[in-house]
């Protein structure tokens, strides 16, 4: 897409989303009569917890309805097409051949679930030990019982940040930058609870064998200007008097699960969008996440890299098809060894799907963490296994 078109789309979405974000308090999704920001372990184990979880149930319910409706609508549309309609609606009882589980992926899931658990309930269980450290992650800091502070609050409320004492400001920037350099966008792929939710939605889709939206350059180039708009709104909304937290979908996750009754405004609607979108297109929200984009801008100094051996690459495009962020340069690059992109969340899907030995590898400070291997790909087909 031409730059001019991208700028036009960015400006348009900035205007639309910005207005919605500014007037977010006008659209209540679920309002509690009294916002109760206190929480304790007893509250979680009591029936009150279910009341606080009410908006979450509504969100999940509406998303499920939305997904089912979309699938049915799609079936209706396909009926018109002669060839596709033949194959729609057939039984899917068997299983597609799958690779054996790889240590890297297992560790990633464990870390995601573990960290998500710690972020949401860690403070309640273990006490607030690290709460002065700020990690750039989209785990909502309205949950004051979080294990660590989340940078997203002060980054979206920069006017409040500069009213704090110097020490806090330095601690904030220091810890944020430290995590950005050390981990980079691995936070997105290994730690972020929003990422966990989207990956769970994707797993559900794979298990039910529903079709998703496939890799398409036009789709990704439309999402890029929306991402720019989101970043602008994220940073700039506080200066025009709006509150990003009424707009951000992460509010619907962490505080509510921790037991705080928070009223949801536009966030609830956005969360439904995240769930439905994440079902059909893997990690759709991560493609427009402003915080992720911010971290990604520093990818050149981060420790984690994706390395490619261009001679071994056969240009099969599997890495591009598998990538949730739609990074094409892994597939098309023919000369450089370092193919890390600002969008890359280090999920390792490209390395998992690469059929050539040692063509792609994920490295941290030069150490190979995960390398592509043909044997792994073919592990679903080894002899004496039918």
């Amino acid at each position: 897409m031409k730059i001019k078109k991208k700028i036009i789309i960015a400006a348009l979405s900035c205007a639309v989303l910005g207005t919605i974000a500014y007037f977010a308090y006008v659209f209540p999704f679920y309002e509690f009569e009294q916002n109760d920001y206190d929480t304790s372990l007893d509250k979680i184990l009591s029936l009150d917890y279910l009341k606080t979880l009410a908006p979450l149930f509504i969100i999940i319910g509406l998303s499920a309805i939305g997904i089912v409706t979309t699938v049915c609508l799609r079936k209706q549309m396909l009926k018109k097409d002669k060839t596709y309609s033949r194959f729609a609606g057939r039984e899917k009882s068997g299983n597609a051949p799958k690779q054996k589980p790889v240590p890297f992926m297992v560790i990633r899931w464990i870390m995601m679930i573990g960290f998500g658990f710690m972020m949401i309930w860690g403070g309640l269980i273990f006490g607030l030990k690290m709460s002065s450290v700020s990690i750039p992650i989209l785990s909502c800091p309205w949950n004051t019982e979080q294990m660590t502070e989340s940078s997203c609050y002060y980054l979206s409320h920069l006017n409040e940040l500069f009213e704090l004492p110097i020490k806090s400001i330095l601690l904030f920037f220091g810890s944020t930058l430290l995590f950005i350099v050390l981990l980079g966008r691995t936070i997105c792929g290994f730690l972020c609870p929003m990422g966990l939710i989207q990956d769970i939605m994707d797993k559900i889709r794979q298990k039910t064998k529903t079709e998703g939206i496939s890799a398409n350059e036009k789709l990704y180039s439309t999402l890029t200007p929306i991402k720019w708009a989101m970043l602008l709104i994220f940073i700039g909304l506080c200066f025009v008097g709006g509150n990003f937290c009424n707009f951000c979908p992460a509010v619907a996750v962490s505080p509510i699960l921790a037991g705080m009754s928070t009223s949801l405004y536009v966030s609830g609607f956005l969360m439904i969008f995240v769930l439905i979108g994440g079902f059909f297109k893997r990690r759709l929200f991560c493609n427009i996440c402003p915080l992720g984009y911010l971290i990604g801008l520093f990818h050149k100094i981060s420790l984690f890299r994706i390395q490619k051996d261009c001679t071994a690459c056969t240009e099969c495009g599997a890495c591009y098809e598998a990538c949730p962020m739609g990074i094409k340069q892994i597939y098309t690059e023919r000369n450089k060894t370092n193919v890390t992109d600002s969008n890359c969340i280090m999920c390792g899907e490209c390395v998992k799907c690469c059929p050539e030995d040692k063509a792609l590898s994920l490295t941290c400070a030069g150490i190979n963490l995960y390398t592509s291997s043909r044997k792994d790909i073919m592990s679903g087909y080894t002899p004496k296994k039918k």
Binding site: T83, R86, R90, E211, C316, G317
Partner: protein, 435 residues
Amino acid sequence: MRIMITREQERKARQDKRFISKETQTAAKYLRSIDELSGAPDGMKPFLDTLNRIYVEMQGLNATQKTIGTYCVIAPQELIYAAGAVPVKLCSGNYTAFFVGDDIAPRDACPLVKAVAGFKNTGLMPVYEDCSLMIVPVTCDCKKKIAGMLSEQCEVMTMHIPTSKGDDEIDEFVSQLYDMAARLEDITGNQVTYDSLAEAFRITGRAQYELSEFIRLKKGNPYLIRGTHAMTIMNAAAYMPAEQWADALHSVNDSLKNKEKSGRLVTNKKLPRILLTGSPIVFPNMKIPLLIEEMGGIVAGDETCMGERGLYDPPVITDDSFDGMMRALANRSLRPCPCPTFADNSQRIYRLKQLIKDNDIQGVIYHVLRGCLVYDFEYKRIEEELGQLGIPVIRLESDYNEEDVEQLRIRIEAFIELIKLKQEPEKRKTGRRYL
């Protein structure tokens, strides 16, 4: 009148007999040469038997299911297995059929297409006659037009192969594969379901796994297996169902692993390692690999579509739905394919460089069939690129007859001498070390 008819019939019967005897003789001769070539691994027998059965005994596949003929590796075999049929690759290498086809097809057409026309015309080859459907991917002009000619005699389905590999083209190719699956369903009467497709992936996947093991074992230097034998194994894959072929290849792999452990090599000398690339080498047109190995070289790599290229790339499933599997097939068929039908085939040069690096190649022989324009166009660029690496390349143009064997022999001998000369200083170095 009746006398004339019977005379016609007699003439045709005589022609057919001559055709059969010549054809079987040539095929048997090449099978013998391959068999007699030293260094054949144990377990070659099933492959030679298949080729024997198809070309010498003139029997068909003897499969219970329907056979579907394909003319290019771009048509995915998984769909054919999913529809409950058996695929057969019908690209022909047969000299006798070529003679017959010479009169039917235009004079400048490539010999592969002439041989196909010849076979179809005589109607004697069960492999061709038994096919319920022929799938012809339109990769070059000759294939395009032969599809038109074949459609007058049997069921033909053409597939449009795009000339570039963008996202839109992949989407269009996916819909092409859906059309292919629909047509296969109509022909075979079976349904292509999720389960049958998954099972088909498993069947071909297993064959591909065995092949990757085989390639890994083949890379060893000095060699465990000659290139001619490897190419025969690949050629036999065209006529064997994937499970059978995978089983046979498994035993070959086992025997090669034993050889590796016990140190029994094909030969103790360091033979010049040659990469063969270009137009496909189809049985029984094995004169070039046989000549190379006769003259003291070894065919260490093979970048032709009847060789490794056909089963090398596995389909990578990124999405578990039915559409996802079809997309995996479309991606596998188009994206890594270095066929010159694509306008931009620079990835073939990278593939060649990969093979050169993996197998430590010292010389490249570029094989062009007479009339094959697409491969001819690419020769100049490949010569330049490989020249920059310091690898000598020669262009061998040949046809489907045995008259040019002597000329080819002389040129190949000269080429191998050239490589040996370049190799000489290395040999002396090792000699001194032993002293």
